[in-house]
């Protein structure tokens, strides 16, 4: 029995090595696209993901950022980008019809770049 438990532990350790984190990207488009708009709701880090909202033309888009700690670590905190500022967001749009949402990997405001998912940029 102890040998079996050790074997199970080794198996778990093996699969844990290249830790492919949950990113929940399955509902998004494969290609990376960009949107430019004005901030209507500033960055919120309430959780489980950071969020903001921008207006592109007349359309409101939900910008889903990284989890709060990672978003903050990228320098993107509440109030850093004021409401009304122009930003460009890069990421993967939702594939759900009518759902204007982008899982965002990079936010650009002026000459500031907030790479919330550095490994994806």
């Amino acid at each position: 029995m102890p040998k079996r438990i050790l074997a199970a532990a080794a198996l778990v350790a093996f699969f844990a090595m290249p830790a492919a984190a949950h990113h929940g990207w399955s509902g998004q488009e494969e290609k990376v696209t960009e949107l430019t708009g004005t901030v209507t709701k500033g960055v919120s880090l309430a959780g489980p993901h950071g969020e903001m909202q921008i207006k592109v033309g007349t359309v409101l888009w939900e910008v889903t950022l990284a989890p709060p700690a990672r978003t903050a670590a990228a320098g993107l905190k509440p109030g850093v980008i004021p409401v009304g500022a122009t930003v460009t967001v890069r990421g993967n749009k939702s594939t759900e019809p009518g759902h204007r949402e982008m899982k965002t990997i990079l936010v650009v405001h002026g000459d500031k770049r907030y790479a919330v998912y550095p490994e994806r940029n």
């Binding site: 929940g24 919120s44 880090l45 309430a46 959780g47 489980p48 989890p67 709060p68 700690a69 978003t71 903050a72």
Partner: protein
Amino acid sequence: MAWLEASAAGHVMRDTGVWTYAIVNLFHLIGIAGLFGAICFLDLRLLCVWRSIPLGMISRPAVNVAGTGLGLAAVTGVFLLATKAREYSDNSFLLPKFVFIVLALLNLAVLHLTPSWRAHRGRDLTQKEYRGLAIFGATSLVFWLGAITCGRLIGYW
């Protein structure tokens, strides 16, 4: 739901730092793990697994751990909801989750009212009495699994 979002709980969740939601979520999960793990022992015994172990030897530890887990899950759950209650109330999995929880608790209440359950700590039950309780084990598993499933899927809606 707006009042919950505007409450002190909501402010704690949103304004105290970037790890708050994650930590509260973690304790919510720990509560659920305790609840469901213990419920499994109780329900499987009700379904006549481990026949050699009298129900009375399992029920007190199982109910205690399950009850503590439920309490922890419930308190943390209120805080999680308060983070953005209005948005969560639009989530299709929220109401079914609560329906399952209510059903699970009703199931528990009815079980506690049965003569067999009331007797089981003082003496071992007869085969017939055990068979009569089996259904409660089945429904309990279905309802708690339903609650857990809906709860998990909230995050994927």
